[in-house]
């Protein structure tokens, strides 16, 4: 790669500066200190790799122009590239163009530069006086470092990486350590393993314990059996001891029984049954006796009742019925008579209070037909209506008369204000004169206006004619036109004046001279007279109308008077027919009718009652005759009848009672029969005839039965306790005595106690074993520990893997370092030896490594340690190595070298050699040589 040209927009002391480098080989740029050499170097670096903002601040030009610039490069791609970088533009990133205008970015540039960073560039491609100073500290290690630094991106990363990895490795694991994480994990695993082994050991006792449990359980079964047998024996003897008395009884009873005769014919339970039958019969017999007595007593009572015959009773009943009917009729008649008298008295008093001179008898005979009430009411109504109508007509007549009088008076009044007809015509004539004067005045006014118009027209005529004559000499057409127009307008005005004068000029006849006020007065007067004549004609018409009305009212009045007279006649007729009416005003007649008619109805009710009473009297007579015919004691008739009825009821009741008792008696006798039969049967079975013999035989039988029963009882109670086999010796009296039994019981109790204790012990052991097995069964320790162990193991595995990662990283780093050195160090050494020989003018021939130490060999084959060399030689050694490194490393990517003249204290010979080397380098690389001491080849002088 080479830089073809540089254009600095602004950078440090440079502004708008251009450089072109079309020179092959070494490009020497000469300039004194502070002339801008370093700034130019920095600019190239800046364009290629950019710069940190802080650092860039130093390069802002004092004049304040844009920081940045562009650079043309060739040898990266086939064509030339232009790179531009301007601070604050495009995010401070470089823009790249190719010749054909394609545009690329910084990333692209970076890739093309094979990822080399600014630091790498500094390390490989640039060096200056500062680098030389490092020679002081140079030893093998530093040579390595430098070598690595320039061989690897970034300078001290490898060192830091190694350190970091080693530190981590030590944190993870040390083969004999205790603290590192993995060592700790191993310890934990060991502990867990021990715990697990312990827990497992415990669980392994499980099977042994299960066997033991089985053994103990078998042993227990045997012991329980033994105990059971002993207890059975004990029970047996205990029974004999407890029931010793029974056993003895059993023996004695059996002995007695064997001595008795066992054959007696007697019914089973004979005595008891005999007594039972007897006892049952006794109450039946006594009841029979009581019933017979009762029956006899009732029969006597019945005989004591003396009853009437049925015929006698019927007659008596008939008499009672008749008597009751007569009494009822009598009472009815009395009530009706009382009511009749009361009504009659009521009517009489009512009539008296009315004070109309009418008696009860008069009323009874009087006819009062149904229409009478309405007829009376009608009379009243008509009378009232006619009176009202008559009054109204009389009022009307008076009012008409009064109105007529008023109209006549008004007419009189109006007549006084009227003037004569001739006088009125006079006034009208006067008024017509006034209208003509007004027309004359109008004409005068128009005439004066017209005269002025005519005068103007005449003037216009003269002017027009003069103009026409004038024009005549100039143009004949226009003079004629003017003449015609002027003459025409004058004729028109004159014609207009003539016509209007004829229209407007009034007659110049008589003209009166009346003032305005007088005219108005005249007009008002004529108006008034016309109205007056109209009013008079109206009044005459009204008077005529009232005259006719007065005649009509007169006729109606006469008609009414006649109707009233006819009505009076009808009233008089009624008063003659019903004299009591004459005492009462006509309007009350209809109301009186109501009251009288009520009384008349009451009187007819009295008549009805009288008739009914007579009928009752006839009935009474008939019934009395019938009663007398029966010939009875009328005084106690009802009492006697009731008494007989009572006696008959008693008789009936007694008969029923008697029947009942008879029935009971029959039943009782029937009931006794079976008992009697049973008794007879008992006697037969016992083969005896008398009661005494029966009882004697019965008692004998009873004794035998008792003995048998006792024997059975004893057997029963012993059978429960002993077997058949065990019982037989008891009958024969072969059983141990009480003392023997006691002694054997004590022996057995001891034996049982012993076995029981052994069982208890076995059970305790068993429950212990079972509990311990249960504990084992519920023990989760092994499970938990196994899981913990597995987990821990996994943790170890993970940690180990991580350690392995670092371990592998570390190993590879070391190996890479070694191989790297092995591979490149010889190359570097060879090249360096070559340079060193040149620089030392052949004094030294070789540089080589021995035991990690750098050695040099002089022309006499003497070897020296680097530290033994003089300062100047050391500088040369460094330069040789430095150039050699660059030479070897730069073979991959030919970036331009930027070399600052650091060889000030070299003598001219050596300096020439340095330049020679530089020259040689420049054959393969573009090389910028910045110097304050220009040679003849200086291309740019600053």
């Amino acid at each position: 790669m080479r830089i073809d040209s540089i254009h600095i927009y602004g950078f440090g002391k440079w502004t708008d500066q251009q450089f072109t480098f079309d020179h092959d080989g070494l490009i020497e740029i000469a300039g004194n200190n502070e002339s801008g050499k370093t700034t130019l170097r920095k600019f190239i670096s800046y364009i290629l790799f950019g710069m940190k903002p802080k650092e860039l601040e130093r390069f802002i030009p004092k004049q304040g122009s844009t920081v940045g610039g562009r650079m043309k490069l060739s040898g990266i791609v086939s064509s030339q590239l232009t790179i531009e970088r301007v601070a604050g533009k495009h995010k401070n990133q470089a823009l790249v163009w190719t010749e054909d205008g394609r545009e690329m970015d910084e990333d692209w540039l970076r890739t093309e530069l094979k990822g080399i960073k600014e630091t790498d560039f500094q390390a490989i491609y640039t060096f200056d006086a500062h680098d030389l100073r490092q020679i002081q500290e140079m030893d093998n290690q530093s040579l390595h470092e430098v070598l690595l630094a320039v061989g690897m991106t970034g300078t001290d990363r490898i060192y830091h990486t190694e350190k970091h990895v080693e530190k981590k490795l030590a944190e993870w694991f040390k083969p004999n350590g205790k603290k590192p994480a993995i060592n700790q994990l191993l310890q934990e695993l060991k502990d867990l393993q021990e715990k697990l082994t312990e827990a497992k050991k415990l669980e392994s006792s499980y099977q042994q314990q299960l066997v033991e449990i089985e053994q103990i359980e078998n042993q227990l079964v045997a012991l329980e059996q033994e105990k059971h047998q002993l207890e059975n024996k004990q029970q047996q003897i205990e029974k004999q001891r407890t029931h010793y008395q029974t056993i003895t009884d059993y023996y004695h009873t059996n002995a007695r029984w064997n001595r008795l005769d066992h054959d007696i014919s007697f019914p089973a339970q004979g005595i008891k049954r005999w007594n039972e039958w007897k006892e049952a019969l006794l109450p039946l017999k006594s009841e029979e006796r009581v019933l017979a007595n009762s029956k006899q007593e009732i029969e006597e009572q019945i005989n004591r009742l003396e009853l009437m015959t049925d015929e006698q009773l019927a007659t008596l009943a008939k008499g009672v019925e008749l008597f009751q009917q007569i009494e009822a009729l009598k009472s009815e008649r009395k009530d009706m008579h009382k009511r009749m008298v009361e009504i009659e008295e009521e009517v009489r008093s009512k009539l008296a209070t009315m004070q109309i001179n009418l008696t009860v008898e008069g009323l009874q005979n009087m006819e009062l037909p149904f229409y009478l009430e309405e007829a009376w009411a009608d009379l009243t109504n008509q009378l009232e209506k006619l009176a009202v109508e008559k009054q109204y007509i009389e009022n009307e007549q008076a009012s008409i008369k009064k109105r007529k009088q008023e109209l006549r008076e008004e007419k009189e009044h109006l007549l006084t204000s009227q003037i004569g007809q001739t006088e009125l015509k006079e006034y009208q004539k006067e008024l017509e004169q006034v209208n003509k004067v007004e027309q004359q005045e109008k004409y005068q006014k128009w005439h004066s206006t017209y005269r002025k118009q005519l005068k103007n027209s005449n003037i216009l005529l003269v002017i027009g004619l003069v103009v026409a004559v004038g024009l005549f000499f100039l143009t004949d057409v226009w003079s004629v036109v003017v003449a015609i127009v002027t003459i025409g307008q004058n004729i028109t005005v004159r014609l207009y004046g003539k016509v209007f004068k004829q229209w407007l000029q009034p007659d110049k006849a008589t003209v009166s001279t009346l003032s305005e006020a007088e005219i108005q007065e005249l007009e008002r007067l004529i108006q008034y007279q016309t109205e007056l004549q109209n009013a008079l004609a109206e009044i005459d018409k009204d008077i005529q109308k009232y005259q006719q009305e007065q005649v009509k009212q007169q006729e109606r009045h006469t008609f009414l008077t006649e109707r009233i007279d006819q009505l009076e006649q009808k009233i008089t007729e009624q008063e003659q027919a019903y004299p009591f009416l004459s005492m009462i005003e006509v309007p009350y007649w209809s109301r009186l009718y109501q009251q009288i008619i009520v009384q008349k109805q009451k009187l007819s009710e009295v008549q009805q009652l009288k008739k009914t009473i007579n009928q009752v009297d006839v009935q009474l007579k008939d019934q009395q005759i019938k009663l007398d015919g029966l010939n009875l004691d009328v005084e106690n008739l009802e009492q006697a009848y009731q008494h007989e009825l009572d006696k008959r009821n008693d008789n009936k009741r007694l008969q029923a009672r008697k029947d009942e008792i008879q029935a009971q008696l029959t039943t009782i006798i029937e009931k006794q029969k079976p008992y009697q039969e049973e008794i007879n049967q008992l006697l037969q079975q016992a083969e005896v005839d008398t009661e005494d013999a029966f009882i004697a035989k019965g008692e004998k039988k009873e004794e035998l039965d008792l003995l048998q029963e006792k024997r059975q009882q004893l057997t029963d109670s012993l059978v429960v306790l002993f077997s058949e086999k065990e019982l037989q010796p008891f009958v024969d009296g072969a059983f141990a005595d009480k003392e023997t039994l006691e002694r054997r019981l004590q022996e057995l109790a001891k034996e049982i106690q012993y076995v029981t204790n052994r069982i208890k012990q076995a059970q305790a052991t068993l429950s212990d074993r079972k509990a311990s097995v249960k504990v084992l069964e519920n023990n989760e320790d092994v499970s938990i520990l196994k899981h913990q162990l597995a987990m821990k193991q996994e943790e170890l595995q993970e940690s180990a893997n991580k350690w392995a990662v670092y371990q592998v990283a570390s190993a590879n780093l070391a190996k890479a370092k070694t191989t790297y050195s092995q591979k490149y160090l010889p190359q570097v050494m060879e090249q360096a030896s070559d340079y060193f020989a040149k620089l030392t003018l052949g004094n030294y021939q070789y540089i080589y490594m021995e035991d990690e130490k750098m050695m040099v060999k002089d022309s006499d084959e003497f070897t020296f340690d680097v530290l033994e060399l003089s300062q100047g030689t050391k500088d040369q050694l460094y330069i040789a190595i430095r150039f050699a490194l660059s030479h070897v490393m730069a073979s991959r990517l030919a970036l331009p070298f930027l070399i600052d003249d650091g060889f000030v204290h070299f003598d001219s010979n050596r300096k020439a050699i340095v330049l020679e080397i530089i020259e040689e380098l420049s054959k393969e690389h573009q090389l910028f040589y910045f110097t304050a001491n220009p040679t003849n080849n200086a291309i740019i002088k600053l």
Binding site: G154, K200, V782, V808, A811, K817, Y820
Partner: protein, 398 residues
Amino acid sequence: MITFIHCADLHLDSPFKGLKNIPTDLLAAVRKSTFKALDNLTEQAIKHQVDFVLLVGDVFDQEEQSMQAHMALLKAFRRLEAHQINVYISFGNHDYLASQTFPRNYPDNVYVFNSETVSSYPFKKGEQVAARIYGFSYENRAVLDNKIKEYQKTDEPCFHIATLHGSIGNEQAKEHATYAPFQLSELKEAGFDYWALGHIHKRDVLAEHPPIVYPGNIQGRSTKETGEKGCYLVTLTENNPSLTFLPLSAMTFEKVEVDAREWTDIPQVTEQLLKKLNTYTEGTTLIQLVISQVTEDKETWFINGYVTEMVNYLNEELVASYIINYKWTSEQKRSEWKHGGRFLEELATAFAEMNVEQEVQALWKHREARAWLHDLEEKEIVQEAELLVDQLLHQKEG
């Protein structure tokens, strides 16, 4: 017709993988989950009133069983006995007969195949033999012979059910030992009505006529055993076998893939993950997040522990699930070393040529450690080491 439950690989009291940092109570539940699954198995057998239960090997997880495992099994058997359900049990490579430390004092309903030679038990319904069950147990750690020729069925007119703990393979193959190897065709030709297999933890129906079935294990134990686990409820009739899978596991493991390319900020990612993980609502789900495509700028989230914090927060929020760990891979593997300089080239060569086993033997062969360390995941370790060196050399420490 007979109905039975076929299950295998109970691995009672098995330890779990990848649960290092989970809370104590959850850990306790996890530890008990194999027992809970066994309880569930018992419940299902009782609920479906099956005729019998087949346990085809690896009932226990380890050669030396724990008391708890033993008692759990015993209790389950007693419950089944109370419901007149028989159990036919055989033992496999994990719980081979010689390894058992506890007496097999099982109740009378349990029939143990206690020999390495194939034997059989009749199953009677009333007086009638309804089925005959064949099987064998491992006497020692491994059975490498093909056992199929030993399965000779009787000519009884009943169902013939074979149990076998092993896997498909060739007994001649030397490089990778297969337990009780068999060929699928052999099983098909043997004339049995049902092949109840065990040993493979992933559920698989190898054939349907006759059914040749791996029911899988009944409880997942790491994120390598994800999803629902359980047993098969099998009904055999004259015509048609029917199989119903019954889930038994007390908790399930799931791997959840997360693409990190769209990540913007921590709250957004938290929200997104919470939503995603809250779709697990049944029981308890233990989750491994597999985060891929982490962009370079998000790598610091992992390095600086933000992601761990987020996971801790999520675990507080999640109801029915728990994130047990996470793995992540970056979008770009690492910087291209070939552009980095000659040293890095040497580093790349060193990595390529290295022998991991040799490098780590300081720990792997360590007197105390070697007993515990088994796995050496060379590939992962090398990858991580490369990543580590890359990060360190390029100052990616965050």
